[in-house]
Structure formats: C-alpha cells, structure tokens
C-alpha cells in the first residue's frame, strides 16, 4: 500500500495537511510576514515616522542590495577566472546529465513516475517540433531544440532555489543564474545561429546563400539588356531583390542580438526583482508572488528561445523548397 492509500479519506484538511497543521503553518507564515515587514526598510521607515524605536538583531536586517551586471570571478584556476554564473551553468549540466541517466538507466515499457515526467516533457517538445517542422525535419531539429529548452529552463529554475544566491565566497555570491550573465545567452544564441546556418548549407548548399546575395537575377537582367531585350521592370525588380536579400542578411545578424538580449534582459530583470523584493520585505514578503512569476518567466523564456531556434531552422531548410514548388 502506498502512503496515499494509507491516509484515511475521511480525514478533513487541505493539501494533504490536517487543519491544526494548516493553522500552525498559517500562523508561522503570517508571523514571518509581519517580522519581515517590520525588519525591512519599509517597516523601519514606518516605525520611525510613528516614533517607535524597535531595533532588530543585525542578522534580521537585510543588507543594501548590490547589483553587478558582470559576473564576478570567484576562483582562479590556472589563471582562468571561474565566475559564479559558470558554476551555475555546470551545475545545471551535471543535474541534467544525472537526471537523464537516472531516468534512462532502467527504462520500462510500463513507465515509473520519474519516467512518466521525463517522457511527457520530451514528448511535448517532440510534438511541437513535428508540428512546426514536419515529421522528417522535426526529428532532426529535436535534439538541439530540446537541449536549449531544458538548459535554459532548468538554469532559470535552479537560481530560484532558496539559498542559491546566499552562499558567499571571497565577498561574492558562489552561485548566480547562468542566464543572468550576458555570455551564456550569447553562447546559446551563437549555437542557435550556427545551427540554422549549418542546416541551410547542408540542405541547400550554396543556393541557400543566394537568398541573401540575390545578384543572379540582376546580372541576368543586365545580360538581357546587352542582347537587346531591355526591360526596365526586370532590372528594377532584380535591384529590389538584392536590397531584400541584404535586408534578410541584416535581420539574420540582428536575430543574434535579439536572442541574446531577450534572455539576458528577462532573467536579469527577474534576478533584480527578487533581490529588491527580498530587501524591501525580507523572508516571506512580495517574493512569495515574484517567485511564482519568475517560474513562469523562466519557462516562457526557455520556450521562446527553443521555438525561435526551431522556427528559424525550419525556415532555413524550407525557404527555397517552397519557392521551387
């Protein structure tokens, strides 16, 4: 019998807790909220205004938040500075590898709970890939798209674990969400950029480049002019074609910037929001709501990054296919 079955169904309560336990939890939460409100800068200012002198022990009063955009190096290994965001990235990778190994170690036809969770996540992303890129291409894109989704998502969620940013070494946080360092989103954006580039080249060869450097029709139109078939509209539309191609090239490179700054901006803003929230009302305060919001933001950003990679990869292999038909 499982623990769930053992519990009497007649027992009254909520969320698996009986009422006395719920009441105790509620009192503790409200107590911490009031304590946090009074110990934080908001409460201190209010108390000052009303002339009440209530001093709290130093460990209860939050320190002024310091926000560093650049990730500080925590250690030096063989002259290489190891930053806190790098370590958070490694932890995410180790976590994902271990988790995957644990799940796939003993795969069963009738899956266990852990296998069901993992299979449903992967199945959902796989269905998404297939629905956007088709059966054949969806299978090809799935590994990269899924890796990006899991890495970005788990990175975001990992930094929400309480205590993650609280450990300090050499005056700096030991760990900080990898997405809040501009280098990680940039690295991911470069991976995504070269993935799209590679697919385009692999499937269409140098023809793929002709959509960006569309000089062919222009030279053909000029050539026809020399043969006596002068057509202004031909030359004009070919010139527009060159312009459009260069515009596409420009937008491809701008994509790199937008990929990077979207993820970096969203994650850093979230981190700052949590820091400020924890400063204004420490312990259980506004962060209660911000945490839920940040979990959603982490998921949405992981989804956006991976779907955009999927969409651009799909476009890069099908841009000329569609024209040929």
């Amino acid at each position: 019998m499982t623990a769930l079955e053992k519990r009497s169904p007649k027992k009254r309560g909520c969320l698996g807790c009986s009422f006395p336990v719920l009441i105790i939890i509620g009192v503790v939460v409200i107590g911490l909220l009031v304590l946090g409100l009074l110990a934080g800068p908001i409460g201190q200012k209010l108390l000052e205004r009303f002339g009440i002198d209530l001093s709290f022990p130093a460990w209860l009063v939050p320190a002024s938040p310091a926000i560093h955009l650049a990730a500080p190096g925590v250690f030096n290994v063989l002259g290489v500075s190891i930053t806190n965001t790098m370590m958070a990235g490694w932890i995410t990778v180790i976590f994902l590898v271990l988790f995957s190994w644990l799940v796939t170690r003993r795969m069963k036809l009738v899956p266990g709970r852990l296998q069901i969770v993992f299979e449903s996540i992967l199945g959902w992303i796989y269905d998404l890939c297939v629905s956007v890129a088709g059966e054949k291409n969806g299978r090809r894109f799935f590994p990269v798209v899924c890796t990006i989704f899991l890495f970005v998502g788990f990175n975001a969620w990992l930094s929400l674990i309480p205590g993650f940013g609280s450990i300090e070494v050499n005056g700096h946080e030991l760990l900080r969400g990898a997405n809040t360092d501009l280098n990680t989103p940039l690295a991911l954006a470069i991976v995504s950029f070269f993935f799209v580039l590679y697919l385009g080249f692999k499937d269409l060869g140098f023809k793929w480049l002709s959509q960006y450097f569309a000089f062919g029709p222009f030279f053909k139109a000029i050539g026809r002019t020399f043969k006596g078939k002068f057509n202004v509209m031909d030359i004009f539309s070919a010139a527009i074609g060159i312009f459009v191609g260069l515009l596409e090239l420009l937008s491809m490179f701008i994509r790199l910037i937008s990929f990077t700054f979207r993820l970096f901006g969203n994650m850093t803003a979230g981190e700052i929001l949590v820091i400020i929230g924890a400063f204004l009302i420490p312990m259980i305060g506004v962060n209660f709501a911000i945490y839920g919001f940040e979990m959603l933001v982490g998921f949405v950003q992981a989804l956006v990054f991976s779907i955009l990679t999927l969409v651009f990869a799909t476009m890069s292999v099908s841009s000329h296919e569609a024209e040929a038909h």
Partner: protein, 73 residues
C-alpha cells in the same frame, strides 16, 4: 499551429527596428562627425530599412490570415 511560425518571427521585430534606426543614425554620425545633416540622412535610411523590414516580417502573418479568411468565406 499554422500561425506559430510567422508569429514567433515577430518576436525579433522590436530589436530589428531599434538596431536599424540606431545603426542608421550611428553611421551618419560616424560619417559626418557633428554635422547634423549626415545624422538625419542616416536616420531616414535607418527608418526606411526598419519599416520595410518590419513590413516584410509581418507579411507572412497577414498572408496566412487572408488565406484563412478566404478558406472560411
């Protein structure tokens, strides 16, 4: 799901517009120093690029919408 591909393309549109306009103005500033005429020319070119590019990005979405309307009608 048909609209997912063009709709997601639009996510980069803001960056595209910003980079085009700022890039155009920056280029004009680099070319002409403090002469405002170059900055204005750069700005205008950047604006044209931004609007035309944005129009081209939005077009697939409009097309798919039109197709759907025709299908329904």
């Amino acid at each position: 799901m048909d609209k997912l591909v063009p709709a997601f393309q639009l996510l980069g549109i803001g960056f595209y517009v910003v980079v085009c306009i700022a890039g155009g103005a920056g280029l004009g500033w680099w070319l002409g120093g403090k002469k405002p005429v170059f900055i204005i020319i750069g700005l205008v070119i950047g604006l044209i690029l931004a609007f035309y590019g944005a129009y081209r990005m939005i077009r697939p979405l409009i097309d798919s919408n039109n197709k759907q309307d025709k299908g329904n009608g």
